[in-house]
């Protein structure tokens, strides 16, 4: 081939051209190697993404007036970006509803709530306490009446019919609870006391000695104070 190139000027010229081209390729290869060596491959994706976002924001800034849906056109143009944004929205919504759900996390729920079963138990506890209180107060009122009868005194100082009216109004609430929670013994005693207070509440000015004697006789004959004490003991043991 060397002998031929020496004899043929055309082939020699073509071979020279090829040699020059190859020399140039070698030079490019060296440049590529140099460029590749200078690249930080770990940081490259972030750099590319930054440049991509920067490129997509630039045209928006150039818009004469801001449009609320302007970002959507960018998302339409970039499916991957749209997917990422949709994921963020769904995730945020899930977090919002999870944190909003009541009763699961201490401090997150601020409303009141209690089950019907619990409220029933609370009412039962209240019924026991209030019945006990009602019986104690009734005892005091009855003893007041007896003391008055014993002294032979009569009149507003001896007995306050307001107390009887107050106890009567309390008894209304107890009725419903005593029936509901089947507190039969307590209800029987409370009912008897109620009838006495009904009498006492009607006396506004003076309580005649004969009336006092009649009530005292009734209470003693039915052993009402003893019954009150027995029911009180039962209720105290349950509270």
């Amino acid at each position: 081939m060397a002998e031929h190139l020496e004899k043929c000027p055309d082939c020699r010229a073509e071979a020279d051209e090829m040699r020059r081209a190859l020399e140039k390729t070698e030079a490019v290869k060296a440049e590529i190697r140099q460029a590749v060596a200078s690249v930080n491959w770990e940081a490259l994706p972030a750099t590319v993404a930054d440049r991509a976002f920067a490129a997509s924001r630039k045209p928006e800034r150039a818009l004469p007036a801001a449009r609320p849906w302007g970002g959507l056109s960018a998302l339409r143009m970039k499916p991957a970006l749209a997917g990422l944004a949709a994921g963020l929205v769904v995730g945020a919504a899930t977090m919002y509803f999870a944190l909003k759900a009541p009763g699961l996390r201490p401090g997150q729920d601020t409303g009141y709530y209690a089950s019907g079963e619990f409220l029933d138990r609370a009412e039962l506890t209240m019924a026991r306490r209030n019945t006990l209180d009602y019986l104690e107060k009734s005892q005091y009122v009855l003893l007041d009446v007896f003391e008055s009868a014993g002294e032979g005194a009569a009149g507003p100082a001896a007995f306050n019919s307001e107390q009887a009216r107050d106890l009567l109004s309390r008894k209304k609430y107890l009725n419903a609870q005593l029936e509901r929670f089947q507190m039969a013994k307590a209800k029987a005693v409370c009912d008897q006391i109620e009838m006495l207070f009904l009498e006492l509440a009607q006396i506004s000015d003076e309580l005649p000695a004969a009336e006092l004697g009649r009530i005292r006789y009734f209470v003693e004959e039915r052993q009402l104070l003893l019954k009150i004490n027995l029911v009180k003991k039962e209720l105290q043991s349950e509270i």
Binding site: G103, L104, P106, G107, D109, T110, G111, Y112, Y113, A114, S115, G116, F118, L119, R121, A122, E123, L124, T125, M126, N130, D133, S161, A164, R165, L168, S169, R170, K172, Y173, N175, A176, D191, Q192, M195, L198, E199, A201, Q202, A210, G213, R214, Y217, F218, I239
Partner: protein
Amino acid sequence: MKKLTVLIGLFVVLSLGSGLYAQTTPDESLFREAKLLVYDKSWAAALIKLDDLREKFPNSSYAGQSLFYKGECLSGLGGRERDALRAYKDYIRLADAKPSLVEESEGSIIDLAFGLYENGDVPAIGDIERRLGHDNKVVRYYAAYKLSLVRDKKLAAKAAPVLMRIVETEKDPELLDRARIALLRVSPESLKSVEDRKPAPGSPRMLKIRVWNKGQKEPAFSLNIPWALADLALGAMDEDDRAELRKKGYDLNKIVNELAKSKESILKIVGDDGSVIEIWIE
């Protein structure tokens, strides 16, 4: 000897009778006899006496009152609730009706109406609803309390404004607790708004309790109630949970007092079966 015993017995009865019924007129005697039967819940016998009184002595001062006791008897007999309702309504319309008996009659009307409604007489509830605006607050409050117990939640919620008023203005702790529990049943959000309006600087507002069974994400028991009901709430806690706390040496009252002092700190108790109880105050 037998004769002597009978004579002594008769003497005792007569002396008691003469002492107790001295200077009584026949209508008064009849009225007292009827009332004694009412005390003993001998409704039918008492009713006969009361009807007798009204028939024989229509102008007696006891004739009016006998209507109230007639209501009591009819109500006690059972099955005659509508007649009882009528007797009470007749009594409160009387010009000389006694205020204490009127108040009692109103309460009985509410109770009877509630019972009739629960047994399917829907219009009967109107007697309770109308009393939500009664002039006498004792009647108004009781109507609201009873209405809060009806099963129809929409209807029960009509009691909320009166119950809120009780929580806002009343001082009696018994009445307040009842109103709070009734509001928790019918409208917890109304209770929250009333409690939030009340000034309570520095004091806790809400007690929270959660009980988790082992391996469950959702609590088996949840409770958020006003601090004012804390004592009642702890008293009403399930016996098993209370036993668990006792077993671990915890005193519920102490726990609440400690939590009230520390504010927002959580007491967490893990049971032997893996259940967890959390109690805290906000």
